[in-house]
Amino acid sequence: MSFRLQVRNYRGLRAVDWSPEGVCAVVGANGSGKTTLLDVPALLGDALERGLARALEAHGGIANARNLYAADSEPYDFDVTVGDAVWHLAPLQADRGFRSEERLTVNGHTVVSREAGAELVQIETRGPDSTNTRVVSSSRLTDSLALKEAADWPGAPAAVKAQETLKLLCRYRLYGLYDLAALRRRGSPESSQRRLDQRGSDVFSVLRNWRDRRNDLERYEFVLDGLRDVFGDFFEDLDFEKAAQVVGASLRLKGNRMHSASLAPDGWFVALLHLTAVASTDDGDVIAIDEPENALHPHAIKILLEHMRAWSRRHRVTILLATHSPVIISDFDTRPEQLFVMQPEQPASPVPVTDLKDRDWLAHFTLGDLYTREEFGAPRDDAEHRPHHDG
């Protein structure tokens, strides 16, 4: 199902219009908004689950949410398109919580709406061909979102569309900020989780649960296959140990030697977590990984990308990567339309690199080289502020 994200004046993002598909990379200078961009679906998912105020507070603070340079007359809103449904959210803070403007339209027809500042939500309970019966529902919570109300409304045609959007956003996760030290020191708390949490702390529990469930075996084997491909020189298999509600792991090395996971190299942990993050997705999901190159050898990066692409194709999963790595960027040489650039001077970001540079010209170079040479995604060309390097 197609996915499109539009944002205006949220934190560092002035204007976003993005329709990623498959494995996509986002590049750009520090501060250009790559991480903020990848955080937007997570913010919206959080807002749907626990309310807009708490979500905004957890994602950088309510006070900083609106772009600092946006005039009062400029819009500040989000639009998420999933298939033929568009969910529009324009946050509006009132005296007692948020009273945001919201709308869910399907093929241009509004099926859920809330006016800015209103406490009432209108949900269409019959299809557009029959009498337009609308039910007015009061919001149960001050900053609960209308989309969630609609998704919970039994029998309403709008509910199905609302649920699709809600599912995509609530299942979205931004990975990359793993707590490796805690994972080494404490292992994973035992749980029945079947999806990796954002910090990766439950990875051993999740993997053990997958291994023991027939329906999840594909996920487990995807991770183990990936690790064997990346670390074929030493890694063979994984064993799990449980003690006092904690799941730990040992690596089985070549020559049938065992090795505690706590002593494994950082790169091994990062690869394990990336692969588990990807394998946590269901068909049609979207996830993101911020700076996936950290701690990884170029060889490992390339193999991990191959595995991500294979999973993405098989399960129609969209995987978004924010990166500065020339190795990752060059991996898009044959698919430059999936490499996106945060380029603030453009009317909307991110833009495919093929919109910035002629495709025939790009064909002569590796994209990683061009990025290193600052041909795209470079800091603003302001010579006065650049350090001088003599010789």
Partner: protein, 262 residues
């Protein structure tokens, strides 16, 4: 004993082309060496237009730099052979690629090359393109396809030369039903690698990784005859290890050397 340095741009070529070419020189006393641990990046992944950017710094410039660096090593081979796939996007314009390589050599030599430098490039290195790619040549020998894991005979357009590859297999050309299979891509009739993938196992899922690894990995997984998700991983690994070598074995045992275009 004279030595030939072989620079390749693909995984399969890197593993097997040396052994294959060595057979072409049976009786000759020479040593084939691979100056790089891994394949160097291909220059033909996309369609290359001509002329290229005058600025240099292109993929072709980097390939040429690799060739010249090999010639300048202390243990330099006597001759350096560089082989890349032409790839389908460049089939109609192969002369663009060779001209770009020629231009890159001129750039690398600079405005005033010495006689010695010119002689080194002119007499001690060559650049070749496999048309459209290495796998096409396997179709010249049915046994090579079998060694690569093909489970059914190939059906090719008889009036076409292998370097003008065209499959004439109705099953392979059938409209897409399941998009998961790695060989189900547009314009596949002209794609030897996709056809080989089909011949090995038309039902295998898309497990497959990249262009260079694709051949080796997807063929190997396919030749296990089972979905990797439903097999014991240990069994898969052991099968994979055996079959990983099948394609390279096919190439290295090929009777005739790859038809090189100079």
């Amino acid at each position: 004993m004279p030595s030939i340095g072989l620079i390749t741009t693909g995984e399969c070529e890197h593993r097997a082309l040396g052994a294959s070419l060595q057979r072409a020189f049976e009786g000759a006393e020479l040593v084939l060496v691979q100056p790089f641990q891994r394949p160097v990046p291909s220059i033909t992944s996309n369609h290359l237009g001509y002329p290229g950017p005058a600025s240099g710094g292109t993929q072709v410039d980097k390939l040429v730099a690799s060739i010249m660096a090999t010639l300048e090593r202390r243990d330099a081979p006597d001759f350096v052979v560089t082989i890349d796939d032409l790839e389908l996007p460049n089939v109609a314009t192969a002369h663009h690629v060779t001209q770009l390589v020629s231009d890159a050599f001129r750039r690398a030599l600079g405005a005033t090359p010495t006689h010695q430098q010119l002689a080194r490039v002119r007499e001690r290195c060559s650049f070749h393109l496999l048309c459209p790619m290495l796998e096409a040549y396997l179709f010249g020998e049915p046994a090579a396809l079998e060694r690569a894991g093909a489970t059914r005979p190939a059906k090719l357009e008889p009036t076409h030369h292998l370097e003008d590859f065209l499959a004439a297999d109705p099953e392979f050309a059938a409209p897409d039903e399941v998009r998961e299979h790695p060989w189900r891509r547009p314009a596949r009739a002209r794609h030897p690698k996709r056809y080989l993938s089909f011949l090995v196992d038309p039902t295998a899922p898309s497990a497959s990784p990249t262009r260079s690894r694709e051949t080796v990995c997807t063929l190997s997984r396919r030749s296990s005859g089972r979905r990797c998700s439903h097999t014991n991983p240990w069994e898969l690994r052991s099968r994979t290890r055996c079959s990983m070598t099948s394609l390279t074995r096919s190439v290295s045992r090929a009777r005739s050397p790859a038809h090189a275009t100079r």
